[in-house]
Structure formats: structure tokens, C-alpha cells
């Protein structure tokens, strides 16, 4: 099948294989924007990103540019970043504070922080022509907006499930598992966004996040380097190396270890990969963390919270969350072959200071622009994209590993092994449903 021949999207996806056009074809990509990114809920930001009235951050929903902001009545809003007059981007910076009003840089139309028109110069030019209270003259709001435990989502469609229902237990787990680790049940964003461009389709990144076969291969060099340096560190200093070394050394766990992990596929493509990092050592920081949680929730609940062992939660199609390490990567598809990731991490409220060190170490070693981990991932993603863009050489991508062996129970799919390609099959089942709607 050539890229032009497909008629409907369902023909591109079978349970165990998908057509390369899903990754490389701009026509498919345009439809993904319309049918997935403009229909589902998309993560916009965290409430603590805009603590004060006038604070704003700009980001993307698909190719639409939006503003997350807070108004003087403390409400959080998601607005299109577009002046209704001539269409100008109103906020041209990544973030800032607009004081009492957004002001278009072109003709100084001013908007209240909820998007309503506030003022403009020489209003008399519109007298008797147009009613300045017309909603068409406001900064348009996202059709729907909802927040789950401080994490703000928006949908550009009036229709569809509410956020809680859409997230389901799988998606909600991402945020519950972050917030529950705080005795106050809350987290706070660290005001730093690393943005990294991938020269590859957005789905390649999401698939990689739950691909337990690749780490020992892709990250072999980094895992080895970290493990060797751990030994040198111990010899030279007589001390245990910082935990970040172990985060990196863990990438070269033997296949058997990866194979023993669980993956769980939920409706709408949300997918979980169970944890493998020993994040509950018996060091003083962990013990102090246990103590504050026990005081807040009791021993039994504390045990339940801290033994939750999830490495990745994908909130399809827009987020990869690592709750135990309090970080997330938001996925912003810019073209079939270009994806922006916005990478954030969080502090748990009310926990000992040392707990943050782990989160920060992971943010540095895995997620910063100097990462030795994603250096090799991004190289693979680009190589995949380039290969999938070829006309010849084959048409299909294989997701056959452990196909037909995934137990399904009440709409939730588990895997027989951690290395099963069940997560990819689960995401593409959701993709097919969205694209066929």
C-alpha cells in the first residue's frame, strides 16, 4: 500500500502492526490534530505555575497556541493566544506577568485576565457598527477546562467525557501517586521548563516511554559509564555515590529484570509501566518522609502510598508522567516529524527537603538538555522517523511481541511480560478509535 492509497484510518492499524503512514504522512498528522488533539483533554500546565494574578505561561494544544493564566479573582483560565482584532499573538513570551490586563502589541486592544474585552484606543470608530460586548471580540476560551489535583487540562471540543472520567483510574493514578506522597496531598511546580525538540513523530516518544526492551540496548553506554563511575567514586571517596548514579546505572538492568515488570493498558490509550528503581532505601531521608506521611495518614495508608511502584504513566496522547520522581514530559506535536517536549518537575509539599534531591537528580540526569540518556533516545527517534519516511523498503511497523497473550479484564489489559508490546497495541487501539470516530 502506498501512502496515497489508504482510504480510512482503520486500514492503517491492525492489532499487531501499523502502517508507516501513521508516523510519516502529513495528511494523517492533520487528522490526528483534528480527531485526537482537538477532541481529547490536553494537559496545559499546573495551577502553581501561575501563582499570582496576571501570571501566564504559553503553550500548545496541537498547533493551537494557548495561554494558561490567573485572574484577579484567583481563577485559572485557558485562552487562545490570539487577538480577535487582527489575529496577533498577544503573549509573545514563554511566560510573564500581564499585570491587570493582556494588551495586544499591535493596536493595544486590552483584555481582562479572563479574556473579556477591557478597553481599546479610539473606541468611537466602532460606535453603531459593532457591539463591543460581542463574545467574538473576546480572547477565545478553550471550549472546556478542568483540573485534577492541581493539573490543568483543556479540551478544544464542547463534547465528550469530563476530565475525571476520561482520565479513568489509569490516568488519575499519575497525579494521585505524585500528590499522595505529600502529607498535604499537594505538589508545587519547580519554575523551570526544559524544552527539547524531537525530529520524530509524537507517538514514537510515547511508545519508547513504555518500551522495556530498549533501555539495556539504547542506554548501554550510559549505564556502563555510570556503573563504572560508581565504583571509582566509592574507591576515591569511601562514600556511596549520589542517587543519580544509580538512576543511570539502572538503565542496564538485565533483560530478565525488565521482563518481570508489569504493564497495564487502560481505555483511551492511557498506559502504565510498573517501577523498577529501588526508591525506598532505608536512608534517613526516606525514613523522615515515611514519618511525616504516617503522621498525616496513618501507618497502613503510608505503606500503601509509598509502595505504589509505577515508573511511567502515559496519559494519552499528551503526557508522560513519572510520579515517584515527580516529573512529567508534555508532548506537543508540531508536525508529523517534529515534536516539542516540555519537561517539568515538582516538589512535594510538607516533606523533608532531601526528598526533592531525588527528583532533581533525575531531572538533571535524564531530562535536562545535557542528558546522557535521551541523547541516545533522540538519535533512535530520528533514525526511526527517517526510516519510516522512505517510500520503499517495507510498509509496516511490527508490534508482534507477545501478541495475543495479553489478559483483558473489564477493559483493562495487562501484559504477560514487561517486554510485551502490549502498551503500543493499547495506544494504537485508542488511536484507531479516535481516528474512526
Amino acid at each position: 500500500m502506498s501512502l496515497e492509497e489508504y482510504k480510512d484510518f482503520s486500514s492503517l492499524v491492525s492489532p499487531e502492526r501499523v502502517h508507516k503512514a501513521c508516523y510519516s504522512d502529513e495528511g494523517v498528522f492533520e487528522q490526528e490534530l483534528n480527531k485526537i488533539f482537538y477532541k481529547s483533554w490536553i494537559y496545559v500546565g499546573h495551577e502553581s505555575q501561575v501563582p499570582n494574578p496576571g501570571d501566564y505561561w504559553t503553550t500548545w494544544i496541537g498547533r493551537e497556541r494557548v495561554i494558561l493564566c490567573r485572574s484577579e479573582d484567583a481563577q485559572v483560565h485557558v485562552l487562545y493566544n490570539r487577538c480577535p482584532h487582527r489575529g496577533t499573538l498577544i503573549c509573545n513570551n514563554l511566560h510573564g506577568n500581564a499585570r491587570k490586563a493582556f494588551r495586544c502589541p499591535y493596536h493595544a486592544w486590552q483584555f481582562n485576565l479572563d479574556g473579556s474585552l477591557r478597553n481599546m484606543p479610539m473606541k468611537q470608530g466602532y460606535e453603531g457598527i459593532i457591539d463591543l460586548k460581542d463574545p467574538q471580540l473576546q480572547m477565545k476560551r478553550a471550549a472546556r477546562q478542568a483540573t485534577y489535583r492541581g493539573f490543568v487540562f483543556a479540551s478544544l471540543s464542547d463534547e465528550g467525557e469530563g476530565l475525571d472520567e476520561w482520565l479513568g483510574s489509569g490516568g488519575r493514578a499519575a497525579f494521585d501517586d505524585i500528590c499522595n506522597r505529600s502529607p498535604e496531598g499537594e505538589c508545587e511546580i519547580v519554575m523551570n521548563c526544559f524544552r527539547i525538540i524531537q525530529h520524530s513523530n509524537w507517538k514514537i516518544f510515547l511508545e519508547n516511554q513504555l518500551d522495556a526492551v530498549h533501555p539495556s540496548i539504547t542506554h548501554h553506554s550510559t549505564g556502563d559509564a555510570a556503573a563504572q563511575q560508581q565504583q571509582v567514586f566509592k574507591q576515591k571517596t569511601g562514600q556511596e555515590p549520589p542517587i543519580g548514579y544509580q538512576f543511570l546505572a539502572d538503565f542496564t538492568l538485565p533483560y530478565e529484570k525488565w521482563d518481570s515488570l508489569d504493564t497495564i493498558g487502560y481505555p483511551h490509550g492511557h498506559t502504565v509501566l510498573a517501577g523498577y528503581m529501588g526508591l525506598r532505601p532505608r536512608d534517613p531521608i526516606t525514613l523522615a518522609h515515611e514519618a511525616v506521611l504516617e503522621e498525616a495518614y496513618g501507618a497502613e495508608r503510608m505503606e500503601e502510598i509509598l509502595s505504589t511502584n509505577v515508573h511511567h504513566v502515559l496519559v494519552y496522547p499528551c503526557l508522560s508522567v513519572q510520579p515517584a520522581l515527580q516529573q512529567l514530559r508534555a508532548v506537543r506535536p508540531l508536525a508529523a516529524d517534529k515534536t516539542l517536549t516540555e519537561i517539568w518537575h515538582f516538589k512535594l509539599k510538607g516533606v523533608p527537603e532531601g526528598v526533592y534531591e531525588r527528583s532533581l537528580a533525575y531531572y538533571y540526569h535524564v531530562n535536562s538538555p545535557s542528558t546522557m540518556v535521551n541523547a541516545d533516545d533522540l538519535n533512535n527517534f530520528r533514525a526511526c522517523q527517517d526510516g519510516l519516511s522512505l517510500q520503499g523498503g517495507g510498509d509496516w511497523v511490527s508490534f508482534h511481541r507477545n501478541y495475543g497473550q495479553d489478559p483483558i479484564n473489564g477493559g483493562v489489559t495487562t501484559s504477560v511480560t514487561g517486554m510485551s508490546e502490549q502498551p503500543m497495541r493499547n495506544m494504537f487501539a485508542a488511536w484507531k478509535k479516535y481516528m474512526s470516530a
Binding site: L94, V190, N192, F194, R195, I196, I197, H199, T218, H220, S221, T222, D224, A225, A226, Q228, Q229, V232, F233, K236, P241, Y245, L248, L340, H345, Y356, L360, Y363, Y364, S368, P369, S370, T371, M372, N374, A375, D376, L378, N379, R382
Partner: protein, 169 residues
């Protein structure tokens, strides 16, 4: 840090410092990793903040914040035979200029020096450009200068990064 003209120092000191910075750029471009490590004092730190406003790298996000051990780890990784994103060739060329000595403490042998750099990097048929400011805190303990702290402020520090940085800039 001085916001005025750079300190008047002897031509000899100025030349020594300039030569040190040129050597560091050359060593980096030629991937002479052991010499690179040797330019740093035992407690030396290579630091690229995540924001120009950062006053310390401790306890907050950074783009690079590496001591001897983390730099050694990075060297092990780029020299590893399975570091596949290095196999396509990864070359850089640095130019360092505008070398201004901001402070000199003769009793401790410490010098604070700022400079500007331009760097091009080639990898996988692509060329990228980086530019910015170096701030070197150096100490001369008799046998030549060592880096106590090298701060690197990228011009595009808060911008989106097209790919990542595998080695120091």
C-alpha cells in the same frame, strides 16, 4: 562581579589567562579528555545554569552541573563503543575572545575572568551554533592555573533545544 571596565593587570597575566582559555577550547575540540579533566582543580565544577539569573547551581535545576566524577562519567559514555549517537562523528570548533580579567587576588592566587565564546558543532549532517559567556574562577597554586568554577551562560539558555548536548560547550 565588576560592571565596569576589566581590571588592569600585567600583560603577562593577561596572556597567561588567555592562553589557558585557548588551551581549554583546543582540548575540548580535540577530545583530549584527560587534559580537559586536568584543567579543573580537585573540587572544580563545570556549571551551565538553566537561567541567567541563577546565583548558584546547588539545589536547583541546571543544564550542566558536574564535578570530577560526573565529568569522568560523561567521558566514559562518549568513548563507549555502544554510544551510538557518537558514532556518526561529533565535532566542535570553539573560538574564545573578549577575555577580561574582572578580579585578581594575589594573596590567594585567584582570578575571576569573563570571556565570550562561539561554537559550531557538527553531527549527522547537521551543524548547530552556540554562543555565550564564560566566567572562569581560576586559582594559581604555583604550578599553573586550575578551574575552581567555570560558569557557562548560553545566549539561548531558555530556548527550546534542538537535540541535546552530549559534551560540554
Amino acid at each position: 562581579m565588576s560592571k565596569h571596565n576589566s581590571l588592569q593587570v600585567s600583560d603577562k597575566t593577561q596572556r597567561e589567562i588567555e592562553n589557558f582559555l585557548y588551551l581549554q577550547a583546543e582540548v575540548l575540540d580535540e577530545r583530549r579528555w584527560e587534559e580537559w579533566l586536568d584543567l579543573f582543580g580537585e573540587e572544580g565544577i563545570y556549571w551551565m545554569p538553566a537561567s541567567g539569573e541563577q546565583e548558584t547551581g546547588e539545589g536547583q535545576p541546571n543544564i550542566f552541573y558536574e564535578d570530577y566524577h560526573l565529568m569522568s562519567m560523561r567521558i566514559r559514555r562518549v568513548e563507549h563503543p555502544y554510544a551510538h549517537s557518537q558514532t556518526a562523528g561529533h565535532r566542535t570548533s570553539h573560538v574564545v575572545s573578549n577575555v577580561m580579567i574582572q578580579h585578581e587576588d594575589e594573596s590567594s592566587g585567584e582570578v575571576l575572568v569573563t570571556s565570550r565564546f562561539h561554537m559550531v558543532e557538527y553531527r549527522l549532517d547537521d551543524q548547530r551554533y552556540f554562543g555565550g559567556k564564560y566566567t572562569h574562577q581560576l586559582r594559581n597554586s604555583g604550578s599553573g592555573y586550575k578551574i575552581i568554577l567555570q560558569r557557562v551562560d548560553l545566549v539561548n539558555v531558555e530556548g527550546p533545544f534542538d537535540y541535546v548536548m552530549q559534551v560540554w560547550v
